[in-house]
Amino acid sequence: MSELTMRVWRGDPEGGAFTDYPMPAVEGEVVLDVIHRIQAGPAPDLACRWNCKAGKCGSCSAEINGVPRLMCMTRMDELPTEEPVVVAPMRTFPVIRDLVTDVSFNYEVARRIPPFTPGPPPPGGYRMKQQDVERGQEFRKCIECFMCQDVCHVIRDHEENKTAFAGPRFFIRLMELDSHPLDEEDRREFTRHDAGLGYCNITKCCTEVCPEHIRITDNGIIPMKERVIDTAYDPVVWLGRKIVRRGARRPASTAGTAGEQPAAEESATA
């Protein structure tokens, strides 16, 4: 049976180093399988995070040969095994131990986002067209692996930006809420100021690593930038767009002018 070498980062907040583990190669395995075999053998206390082992929960993110990937969805036979396979924790987040990082930053940002705020349901319940929910559905595929956050240079190299920058995962969350046919909250101010959308210079690194193939920049960030910057502080323009997108439905009661927009309602078929 052939052998391979796993070069795994071991350490804690104080520091650490790579350790080599020579392991027999087994057909069909993914990186997480080999990590599990290391745990069951030479390093029982090797820390790694995982849950589903099916690419569905987004727990097992790590940097494999320098690229953020899900350990449970990266097959060993697609990696060059003449060289050691290098497995390191995500760099943007503080290390807890070995491959496990402290991702609480993301949970804090999530708490700050103004929540989904629907209008009252019409008699007979809400109706939404499939084509109107599809944009939001693309973003809701997000498994919160935080690899887009990991790779974004705005916070990867600048710890200090974390207070002012929500990161790509949350830009698509904001876009998802904004394009939700039932939501009526205006988050433009939040998106500009609190979430720091302006820091993003559209390098598209986030899109490249997304395991769910969400088009984070093209479908999320870029349209969001247009919306936030073009229409900043002009409630009528903002409202008009919302109504066009939503179809013939009474516009937001949260925005002061909402009731008096019959013209906009007519443009709904556009």
Binding site: D12, P44, A47, N51, R97, P115, F116, K141, I143, E144
Partner: protein
């Protein structure tokens, strides 16, 4: 004794899957001090993996559907071992719970007229599963997570509960846990506790379950004095991946069959036509032509046999493979490629497409998948009151997969996600009522905390003992080989003997390193629950001398009408020994009885 921090709440909920999140939302909305404790990160619980959908008789696709039909399907699917009242509440309330998710932001797939679309699944008479492609669990968990966050529920994540705590009067009064990131201990004092810890699959070698499914809640409740019932009723899902070995057990959603996929053996035959049981003969197609017409016209055709309840399909696959008609890796073939267009398959089943492409190198739009049964779900669990989810111990409630009753001897696909919502909410309400009615601060007995901490610390004090990983593997091998899909007395007796040995080995487990994010130690603290639950399953399986739903005995191949009237109840005896006895099922009122007897064409 190590130090520990302490927090006081009105209600704590252990588990942040669908059931736990829904319970916490309910208690928090009532204005109670509420905490949610889970052993993974928030949003990663096993529920996230659910694919096919949530069953609710909304009648959006088939107006003929209603709660009575859903009730009937659930009871028949469960081989009438269900708690009738739970089946009734579930069927009645599921639609409201789905619409509630929509009010909280969920984006389900839509019908042409803009309502929530519903899909076909095994054992459901009408297309009934609200869904989002094949990632319904993700949509549900994210919606509930975001709702809980909006309500500002306190979340303790990566925090593993070891034991429940009781006060001097025997009321559950909190729990003792540790933070995985620091290894520090935490005590929760609470007036009411909801257990929503999910499944037990990690005691088997091939399972669709995530690592969290170690049966902690089942074991904790039992240790605290609660009754558990029908632990032998385990669902082996008919279609798990079989190859490569490292992914063996990962689920292939029933949605593949609901959307037109069929099962074939190595000779290319649709063998399910040979395995239609009498109970379902009247409603199952007996020719391929009729089965194929059913997808378009449910009213004039009977359903394909591939969509029989899961226990039937899993057993049939098992028989085909045993008869030498299996595939190269011991499975059978699930074929949708020859039946639907590539575009349709990619749109309806995107995660399945990726899963096979990435993990097995198989393109499911061009070739069949090889599949076989995998340990998937436990119908048995903590005994609860149907309306309140109260266990037999005051102050303790249970909801979701950890609780028993709704699904009887076999669960229909899609009935779990709706179960989580209906009974998660009810558990949250009842726990809130209980907390409000309880005066004084909760005061757990100090002795319980001490015992739990010294047990948790013990593996550090031993050197060169058993590896927790080895012990886990031995347990999985035992359960897979001896308490699997087909059971027999001699093997179950052997399993119990092996479990004695494994219990003994568990007293010698040792771990290296410290408490900070140490998976070896974490596993060592999961082992007592896994061993406890495995014993409950093996004992239940030995006692139930019949075949019913997810419990199949080679030596008692038929259902015994007398045993169909009892739950097997297990609890701890005064000396700490496990006791088991049959107790009669709650009696069903005649008007519901009639619903079951009504013949539908």
């Amino acid at each position: 004794m190590p130090e520990y921090e302490s927090h006081e709440y009105d209600v704590i909920v252990i588990g942040a899957g669908g059931a736990g999140l829904r319970a916490a939302i309910e208690a928090k909305e009532r204005g109670l001090r509420t905490a949610l404790v889970c052993k993974s990160l928030l949003g990663k619980a096993h529920t996230v993996m659910a694919e096919g959908g949530a069953a609710a008789a909304m009648g959006n696709v088939w107006p003929e559907d209603n709660w009575q039909v859903h009730f009937r399907d659930t009871m028949r699917g469960g081989k009438l071992l269900n708690n009738w009242r739970m089946a009734q509440l579930h069927a009645q309330e599921a639609p409201d719970r789905i619409y509630e998710l929509e009010r909280w932001g969920a984006l389900f797939d839509r019908t042409a007229d803009g309502r929530i679309l519903q899909r076909d699944f095994g054992g459901h008479r009408y297309a009934r599963l609200a869904h989002v492609g094949d990632r319904t669990g993700l949509e549900m968990i994210r919606t509930l997570q975001q709702r809980a966050v909006a309500l500002d529920v306190d979340v303790y994540m990566e925090c593993k509960v070891l034991r429940l705590l009781k006060d001097a009067e025997g009321r559950v009064s909190g729990a003792i846990a540790y933070w995985r990131a620091s290894g520090d201990y935490v005590e929760f004092r609470a007036k009411a506790v909801v257990v929503a810890t999910g499944s037990v699959g990690k005691s088997w070698l091939y399972t669709s379950n995530s690592w969290e499914s170690t049966g902690d809640g089942h074991a904790m409740a039992l240790w605290a004095g609660a009754d558990v019932i029908d632990m032998e009723c385990i669902q082996f899902h008919p279609t798990g991946m079989v190859w490569p070995l490292s992914v063996r057990g990962i689920l292939v959603t029933e949605g593949v069959r609901g959307d037109g996929g069929v099962l074939r053996n190595s000779e290319g035959a649709r063998f399910m036509f040979d395995y239609i049981p009498a109970m379902f003969a009247a409603e199952t197609a007996d020719s391929e032509a009729e089965a194929d017409r059913w997808y378009e016209d449910h009213l004039h055709n009977r359903r394909p046999p591939e969509l029989l309840p899961r226990d039937e399909v899993a057993r049939s696959i098992n028989s085909e493979v045993k008869a030498g008609r299996g595939g190269p890796h011991g499975g059978v073939f699930l074929d949708i490629a020859s039946r639907r267009s590539a575009e349709y398959i990619r749109r309806r089943l995107p995660s399945m497409y990726h899963q096979f492409k990435e993990l097995a190198g198989v393109d499911i739009t061009a070739e069949p998948m090889e599949v076989g049964p995998t340990c998937h779900y436990i119908m048995g669990g903590i005994r609860v009151d149907a309306d309140t989810e109260a266990t037999t111990v005051p102050g303790l409630f249970a909801a979701g997969e950890v609780a028993a009753g709704l699904h009887g001897a076999n669960r229909l696909g899609g009935n779990s996600l709706s179960d989580l919502l209906v009974f998660g909410r009810r558990a949250g309400m009842a726990a809130a009522d209980f907390a409000e009615g309880r005066s004084g601060a909760p005061s757990p007995e100090a002795g319980d905390v001490e015992r739990a901490l010294s047990d948790a610390e013990a593996p550090f004090g031993r050197e060169g003992g058993e590896s927790p990983y080895d012990l886990h593997q031995s347990l999985q091998r035992t359960m897979q080989a001896l308490v699997g899909i087909i059971r027999t007395e001699s093997e179950l007796v052997e399993a119990l003997e092996e479990l004695d040995e494994l219990d003994d080995r568990a007293t010698r487990v040792s771990v290296t390193g410290g408490r900070v994010y140490n998976p070896g130690w974490n596993l060592a603290t999961d082992l007592p629950s896994m061993l406890t639950v495995s014993r409950l399953v093996a004992k239940g399986a030995l006692e139930r001398r019949e075949s019913r739903g997810g419990h199949t005995r080679d030596d008692y191949p038929k259902a015994d009408p007398e045993l169909g009237k009892v739950n097997f109840v297990q609890r701890l005896g005064s000396g700490g020994e496990f006791t088991i006895a049959p107790e009669p099922l709650p009696e069903m009122p005649p008007e519901l009885q009639r619903l079951l007897e009504e013949e539908h064409s």
